[in-house]
Symmetry: C2
Subunit: 342 residues, 2 copies
Amino acid sequence: MTIQADNEASLTMDIGSLADAVLKGDRRALARAITLVESTRNDHRADANALLQALLPSTGRSIRLGISGVPGVGKSTFIEVLGNHVIDQGHRVAVLTVDPSSAISGGSILGDKTRMELLSRRPEAYIRPSPAGKTLGGVTRRSREALIVCEAAGYDVVIVETVGVGQSETRVADMTDMFMLLLLPGGGDELQGIKRGIMELADLVLINKADDDMAALAKRSAAEYRNALRLLHPRSQHWKVRVQTCSARDGTGIEEAWQQVLQHHAALQEAGELAVRRAGQARDWMWSEVDDALLAALQDDPAVCEQIPLLETAVSEGRLPPVTAARQLLELFLGQNPESKS
Amino acid sequence: MTIQADNEASLTMDIGSLADAVLKGDRRALARAITLVESTRNDHRADANALLQALLPSTGRSIRLGISGVPGVGKSTFIEVLGNHVIDQGHRVAVLTVDPSSAISGGSILGDKTRMELLSRRPEAYIRPSPAGKTLGGVTRRSREALIVCEAAGYDVVIVETVGVGQSETRVADMTDMFMLLLLPGGGDELQGIKRGIMELADLVLINKADDDMAALAKRSAAEYRNALRLLHPRSQHWKVRVQTCSARDGTGIEEAWQQVLQHHAALQEAGELAVRRAGQARDWMWSEVDDALLAALQDDPAVCEQIPLLETAVSEGRLPPVTAARQLLELFLGQNPESKS
């Protein structure tokens, strides 16, 4: 994490010129800016807000694409191939990873770099690993801000990758325009590993590894998922969820997948849903940030901290009504009868 | 709502004797107790907590069944028929409604009474309409507590009904042992009206109105849903989601549905999952109560209140970074730099 260390040191630079450098597409400035918005240091937060404020007018013009799938589905290979394909079409691609598991271990720069070696070497690509962070709220908050910074730096396709096994998919779907779910050929057994509800987040389902003797199975799986999705609530009334096959290894089905992304973007834009959705996402983001911060503040309150394990045990063992326990925590935190405020 | 008015007046009675009367199964005491836990008056909250504390040791012994489905699917008729069937098996049945829409309009006692006329006339049945409440959090909190009170009053089957179109299904699934989803025969078009993710909450899917010329269609629909559910993440590793047909009107498939409830309950109990799930539900309940109350306290803060519309607009229009707006609200509420607490 020496790169981050360097940036931490040089974060004292003038925010105005950092913003200008980002807007000019300076990669070092971009890295520094993201490190700043990802920083958990209080003295960095005001600068981060000022930077975001300065960049905001230059954001919102990218295609925001969420990609999820369980480990082993071939996400990295797919993103590398898709990224290179999209760059060949004249786009600039940023890849952000939201992976709370790796986040807890402090990100996985090397992992991500080597995972997407070809892509990471291209000047039109920028790959940013998952930020280090204690909470999912923290990780996704900073990923949302990193996405904004990448847009300001002129990346017109921002891919947010998540691992498909945790809590992060809904958050990623809520910060992107389109949610792509990668699956393996077969009876959907790997869905056992995917959190409930994720199938219904998908705008596009791709059966990857449709190569060699898996091709036929992949086709059958695609048909099954098509039937299944017919019975699920679509994410948008302006978009019919598609199911396609691809092979990231052989590079087949990649152009078709990209065409779906473009069609989806056009459909939502034409219907005016893109603007409405993003405005709603921004409001929701504000409130989820409020939620996360309020709960974090309560849980970090020393008096509250002390009581949490005792109350959780009493509640779990049915010795204390949950609402009574909740009120005790609230009174400790708000220092008064919470009902008088709520 | 005169019944509630009466109870409001007589809530001043001694909590100890109220608890005893509830435990003896006194219906008037039960109604009074639920009105007490549903009351939003601050001076009632302490009594409500004392009551719940007194009842808690006598709770946890019922089958907690969540039932959901869009309006028109025949929920009331189904619950009436199932309720009567279950009572004929020697059980006592309580029915609670979680319907934020009716809740906002102040509950729907008459509606519910007439909806389930036969059931409401039976001494072994207790039907309680949705409580009046501003927020979903408030409604579901009080429904959870009403469920506890009904258990203490000796109802060994508690049905929590929800309308399947709103935000309440997850909450209801989180307060019950089993979640039953009623659907209509046909291509699942009515799922368009059901919120995303609800299919994946279901432990049992029932295609209702499988009568007359709809019977064949219902069978086909059931087969389709079986295929679809094969591809979804099951709620429990100890239970395979079933799809069956029934006709509440003709009373067919009701016993089969009840058998599924008993098998599900036995399976989870045997696996030890029931106890673990309920302990987890209690903890989650405590924390969701903390979340709701914290957010409510923030939103009711006069200084915050004034800023919310301005900040929401600025954020929606992309003039202000959501995190910056969130921090402004937090600073107004916590009266300091929130980062210093979180």
